[in-house]
Amino acid sequence: MKHLISAGDLSRDEALLILDTAEELARVSERSIKKLPTLRGRTVVNLFFEDSTRTRISFEAAAKRLSADVINFSAKGSSVSKGESLKDTALTLEAMGADAVVIRHGASGAPHRLANWVRGSVLNAGDGTHEHPTQALLDAFSMRQRLGRLDGLKVAIVGDILHSRVARSNVLLLSTLGAEVTLVAPPTLLPVSVERWPCQVSYDLDAVLPKADVVMMLRVQLERMNAAYFPSAREYSRRYGLDRDRFAKLHDDAIVMHPGPMNRGMEISAEVADSPRSTIVEQVGNGVTVRMAALYLLIGGENQ
């Protein structure tokens, strides 16, 4: 592994290595000294062209717990707002000697381009509506932690699939790991090519819920919507929101996930979000350990 750009690039063994490594690293977060010397002298650049709180903080915490130096670069108020191109930004980072670049960008494919311009490892922290591989890894990690397995697990991913990089990365990773994914959304919020994805598709949430072990609710990404994808927020919520009545249809061990940020009352009711079977808070903690594992495996060894 040199870069982590798409969850689809990971083989089953590589994905499991990341999850197993994260499981060992999770213990570090429980210690009084939450730091390992492993990446001492290495530089990790957080390059964020899009707003992000939890992912950026998560990557920053992960790199710091491994003793790497962290440089945060956000597009607002930087040379990018003065018109600098991605390539010139990349060359600047190269000159600073970045061992890893964590990039979030509004354009799908930006991390892939960046990987050709820098010598260090590139980690995709979300590119447009394309992919968000570390989110998929932390989701898989949370599922395995709660349910003890991934193979044969029935996962329903519900909501705005069209604009969701989380959904795509999860479908690719979970199918590699042997889980059965069903996407649930109104037809307008499914991508055109969805029939070629390694998963099932349904328009009917109520039919899918009783069989699911995991229900992952996605946020409706209003900021990416430039057309009317559904008649009203209220109607969307009625048909695709996870409220108390729908929650009751799940079997007793099933869990509810959400990559955040949540719109309480829209895709998920507050009561469900705060229930003990929701993993939303532990997903945040698991994000740090999974990102530590990814950073360690990518840049912990020799320079390639």
Binding site: E24, R31, S32, I33, L36, P37, Y296, I299
Partner: protein, 179 residues
Amino acid sequence: MLEGPDIHRALTRIAHEILERTRGASDVVLLGIPTRGATLAHRLAERVAQFEGVKVPVGSIDITMYRDDLRLGPARPLGKTDVPAGGVDGKTVVLVDDVLFSGRTVRAALDALNDLGRPKAVQLATLVDRGHRELPIRADYVGKNLPTAKSEKVKVLLSEIDGRDAVELLRNENEGAGK
């Protein structure tokens, strides 16, 4: 070089020595360095329990993230770190490894231990001491001193992992690799 019964006898002696030197092993914690050191630590704990009925807390301490040669190879998978519930603060920690060679593994283990707490004392037990130290480190309990050439390789086999107990000496053509 060593067969099953030799290993058995060496561990029995080390267990007795630990009991003697720590006056009954009442505040001892055994921490094995994965993979085979962890197995040996469990065997030592069994013997200590057999001899004097003392239940010694036993665990493992992975040193991968503390190695000084991480940059010399691809990233390695991690071993298990498993600290007994009572922790290590104020305890006499006996680190257990299969082969003592350059001393770098033990150096890394000391660093790792430092992040887990503050033991009263740290001791080192090893099944085989093959010499060629590169750091000022020595073992408190040694199963067998085995004079070796630096180019040779010492391999410890344990029945829990390898199906049989043995210590083997391998001639290694590519100079200087591993222990």
